[in-house]
């Protein structure tokens, strides 16, 4: 194929992000500076974000057999870039007191974001694999970045091993799909599935293994065992990246797989298995979070249940499904960024301390830092799906999809899961307002609101509120993802 100007424009977000990674790497080699390097990264990401607009203008286009840039890709690219930007600003606040080399964190974030961009544009299992590994491998380093902290190192190892296991299963699934269909392209494989002559079972197993592999990254039950440890061990801004950008990218590609391969949404054992995974994720995730007294672990379990809700939306595969996934992911990303943002601002890794993740450290925070607490309160309410916050719009969408598709078991599980979930979200929330105790190991700096991380957090909180009150613009944007 020939590479035209249009292809170049369409590919611009990926190119800019990749180029920024190179610039940042050279910058570090030239001179370590904790102001210039992150600034370079942020400028690059902003340019990439802007370039999504011309890329969208090009329309749906295949760039090499690996990638397809359409409204769907652009929407999720923008979301990943926003999430990465937020993580980067948070990291800057977090790394101020970090004793070791600070600048490589930004490099790893940029490489991983590039992987995420490739992943959401993948239209081919090879593209999927390249994107996924490019996304995951830097994250191993990121998770273990506070290497002097035993938990961080342990989390890095755990994530490495389990992620590799997931990738192996994924590869096996791809091999089976290729063996049966003779193609690596999603759409071709999907067509082969419809063909009457196809031998269904191996195809189904292949697709199933593909979903299992992605399920590892999304920490769906029963592939969720790594989640709480990794969330707890990784530095707070990395946790934010893991919970948002990384999961969004993997989920987006899962959506594309579901949309192009009809077998996943048709009735059959595969469909039942997916329904089971969704219900199990919602219930198990919420139940395990109930008694957590560690905020990061709690968010880890809560993310399991949120991806359970999302799986309901994607499994219906018709009607509002795509739109619902887009809206829910946006609300989830904003909310998670906000929640991790508060943890980040409360923690600083100086003196080799742990992050401020124990719930009792947040006791009575409201009476010291009212606005920071208000932000965390909005995030908890949003995670619980209470009106006036973005989370409610997401939950409303998912329930609508569940009812529309007549998936009553899943809908019942959403209602039940939300009710269970309320318990621990409320527990976190009320802790913030109780009378404070004398012991304070961690606290946000007094002027947190004037720093980059703080400004970002305030912006995210306001966005969460506005999306909850006036969601119409988001709903219009979400229409882009329908293909």
């Amino acid at each position: 194929m020939t590479f035209t100007y249009e292809h170049f424009i369409a590919l611009l977000p990926i190119i800019i992000t990749g180029f920024t990674a190179v610039v940042v790497m050279l910058g570090i080699a030239w001179r370590r500076d904790h102001t210039i390097i992150p600034t370079l990264g942020v400028i690059g990401l902003n340019l990439a974000l802007l370039s999504c607009i011309p890329a969208l203008g090009v329309g749906a286009i295949d760039v090499t057999p690996l990638l397809r840039i359409d409204g769907f890709s652009c929407f999720y690219m923008a979301l990943i870039l926003i999430a990465t930007l937020a993580c980067m600003t948070l990291s800057h606040a977090y790394m101020e007191g970090y004793p070791g080399n600070r600048e490589e964190l930004y490099l790893l974030l940029l490489i991983s974001a590039t992987g995420g961009l490739v992943l959401v544009a993948a239209q081919n299992v090879a593209g999927l694999f390249i994107g996924l590994e490019l996304l995951s491998v830097p994250v191993y380093g990121l998770v273990a970045y506070s290497y002097f902290n035993r938990r961080s190192l342990e989390a890095g190892m755990k994530y490495l091993v389990l992620s590799a296991a997931g990738s192996a299963i994924l590869l096996f699934g791809m091999a089976l799909l290729y063996a049966q269909s003779g193609s690596l392209n999603f759409a071709d494989i999907g067509m082969q599935m419809d063909a009457p002559a196809s031998t269904g079972l191996l195809m189904e197993i292949g697709l199933g293994m593909l979903i299992v592999g992605l399920g590892f990254k999304l920490s769906l039950v029963p592939f969720h065992l790594w989640t709480p440890d990794v969330y707890e061990g990784s530095p707070a801004p990395v946790g934010a990246f893991l919970a948002t950008a990384s999961k969004v990218a993997v989920f987006a590609v899962l959506v594309r797989v579901f949309q192009t391969m009809p077998m996943a949404t048709e009735d059959g054992w595969l469909h039942d298995a997916i329904a089971f995974i969704a219900i199990a994720s919602m219930l198990v995730g919420n139940l395990l979070a109930l008694m957590q007294s560690n905020l990061k672990r709690l968010l880890g379990y809560s993310s399991i249940s949120h991806f359970g809700y999302l799986l309901v939306a994607v499994a219906s595969g018709e009607g509002l499904s795509m739109e619902a996934v887009a809206v829910y992911l946006v609300t989830y990303v904003f909310t998670s960024l906000g929640a991790f943002g508060v943890i980040t601002l409360m923690s600083s890794p100086s003196n080799g301390q742990r992050d401020a993740d124990a719930l009792f450290e947040y006791r009575g925070l409201f009476w010291r830092r009212p606005y920071l607490t208000a932000a965390l309160t909005v995030m908890m309410l949003s995670l619980a799906g209470i009106p006036l916050t973005a989370g409610f719009i997401g939950k409303f969408y998912v329930i609508t999809v569940g009812v529309e598709a007549g998936m009553w078991w899943q809908t019942a599980a959403i209602v039940l899961g939300s009710a269970i979930g309320l318990f621990y979200y409320l527990r976190v929330m009320v802790t913030l307002y109780l009378t404070e105790q004398g012991l304070q190991r961690h606290d946000a700096p007094m002027n947190w609101g004037q720093r980059a991380g703080g400004v970002m957090l305030i912006a995210i909180s306001i966005a969460t509120f506005i999306l909850g009150v006036y969601p119409q613009p988001l709903l219009q944007l979400a229409q882009l993802t329908v293909f």
Partner: protein, 510 residues
């Protein structure tokens, strides 16, 4: 244009209270009081100037005394649609009045974080007014859920944990929240299903009440959707198997919280039944009516018996609410015009009398530092005014003629008798139980040997005027309920037509 302001005023006032917290406790209190008075005055102005013969009724074009509509989320056909008729106006007046009282009764009780307290208090009021005005199902659900959060904070942060530490205020608040939220989500599923059925039938995606009223449903589906709505309202009302959050929430809440909870929040459920559950699903409601009325009977007796058995004075009043709401449920589902009018009077009268009782409990607690009636006894001689006023509100609660409660209960029983004589006869015995638990409360707390010597501080002007105001209104409602009945007549006639048509078609089908 007035309607959105009715909702916005409490929200803005609450925010102002919070922002002025730093200046000391007095400024937020006055702002809150002023806000609630403004709300009340606006309500009274609407009452004086509105035409309350306009109300929704089956078949006809729906007409409202006042209406406001603005696009909100066109993607789903959701709009900011508010409408006011006699029923909503009366509820808003009650809300405004009890809002004023809630602010005044916490004047001395709440000393910690006064601004934040009033923020929560006023936001509850804002949410409740939203519920009473919303004519879009999404908007209704939005407000329905929104009022939970401030209520949760009110109980969890300013509540009282029981002395033995077994029943903490946070547990009570969480229980309240989870019960209402979970049942609310069931209602959301029903709302969405209703909207999608309408979309399938007409091709128009809309959450608007007036459009959805036109929809004809398959009987089985109608019954299921009706149940979805009913469960949400039954939790809030509360209907007996779903009531267990109520005594805990009441007992642990601060006085202002209890006043709001009993006076207003419970009424949102009855309002929901009258405004949404019955008009949207008349046939299913008619079919379900006997079950609902028997649930009402169970509620009357279960509430009364448990109320009698309590030692905690606030729990006693809380269980008496369960009993009173049983009458409301019977009145609503009997479908007779008198009974429905009685329901309105009963709702207002119960709001006033329960508020009075809870304020009295709060005043007792401020003096005795306990709510345990075993430690009271013989108070009649030790504190002036308070026992006599308690006796008045207790007799109002047992339905003494001359108080609004009598009018309400009498109309309900009178109206229901021709329709369901059996149920009415049984329910009448509930009145006997009501006198038993009301009088035993007076007996345990105020008579008998005194547990301690020495006079307790009497009521000051603020405390006395709150109670006298409630007392006067109760007596007015008892001797001259006509203005209230006139205001709600058209709304109730509409509900009665919906149910009446459904009942007659149900009879002819058999």
């Amino acid at each position: 244009m007035l309607l959105p302001w009715l909702i916005l005023i409490p929200f803005i006032g609450g925010l102002l209270c919070f922002l002025t917290e730093k200046t000391g406790p007095l400024v937020p209190r006055w702002i809150a009081l002023f806000t609630m008075l403004l709300e009340l005055v606006l309500g009274l102005w609407l009452w004086a100037h509105g035409d309350y013969s306009l109300a929704p009724a089956p078949g006809a074009e729906t007409a409202w005394t006042a209406e406001f509509q603005m696009n909100w989320i066109p993607r789903f056909g959701i709009s900011l649609h508010f409408g006011l008729d006699g029923l909503s106006l009366l509820m808003i007046l009650l809300t405004g009045l009890l809002g004023v009282l809630a602010v005044t009764c916490s004047w001395r009780e709440v000393q910690r974080h006064v601004g934040f307290f009033h923020l929560n208090l006023l936001w509850i009021i804002g949410g409740v007014v939203g519920v009473f005005l919303a004519l879009d199902l999404f908007l209704f659900f939005f407000f329905w859920e929104m009022m939970l959060v401030p209520m949760y904070f009110l109980i969890a942060l300013w509540g009282h944990s029981s002395a033995d530490g077994k029943k903490s205020r946070i547990t009570a608040a969480t229980k309240f929240f989870i019960f209402t939220q979970a049942s609310g989500l069931i209602m959301l599923v029903a709302i969405v299903a209703l909207v999608l059925v309408n979309y399938g039938a007409t091709g128009v995606l809309t959450f608007d009440y007036e459009d959805l009223l036109q929809l004809q449903l398959d009987p089985k589906l109608e019954y299921l959707l009706m149940l979805g709505f009913f469960i949400a309202f039954a939790v809030k009302l509360p209907v007996v198997p779903l009531h267990s959050w109520l005594p805990d929430a009441h007992a642990q809440a601060p006085t202002a919280g209890s006043v709001d909870l009993a006076g207003i929040l419970l009424k949102t459920a009855a309002y929901g039944l009258l405004r949404f559950a019955i008009p949207l699903f008349p046939n299913a409601s008619a079919e379900f009516a006997p079950i609902a009325m028997w649930l009402g009977i169970i509620g009357i007796f279960y509430g009364a018996i448990l109320s009698f058995a309590q030692t905690d004075i606030k729990r006693l009043v809380a269980y008496s609410s369960v009993s009173h709401m049983g009458f409301v449920l019977i009145g609503i589902y009997s479908g007779s015009p008198q009974a429905l009018q009685g329901v309105v009077v009963q709702m207002i009268a119960h709001g006033l009398s329960a508020a009075g009782l809870f304020i009295l409990c709060g005043q007792l607690y401020e003096r005795m530092h306990t709510r345990d009636m075993r430690q009271m006894g013989g108070l009649w001689a030790r504190v002036p005014y308070l026992p006599a006023l308690s006796l008045f509100f207790a007799s109002a609660s047992l339905g003494l003629p001359g108080t609004g409660n009598f009018v309400g209960e009498f109309l309900i029983l009178l109206g229901a008798f021709p329709v369901v004589p059996m149920i009415t006869v049984i329910a009448t015995f509930g009145l006997v139980f009501a006198s038993v638990y009301s009088l035993i409360m007076i007996h345990r707390a105020y008579f008998g040997p005194a547990k301690a010597e020495g006079a307790l501080p009497g009521l000051n002007a603020r405390e006395l005027s709150m109670l006298l105001l409630l007392g006067v209104l109760l007596v007015l409602l008892g001797v001259y309920p006509q203005p209230v009945l006139d205001t709600s007549a058209a709304s109730m006639a509409g509900v009665q037509q919906w149910l009446g048509e459904a009942f007659s078609s149900l009879v002819s089908a058999r």
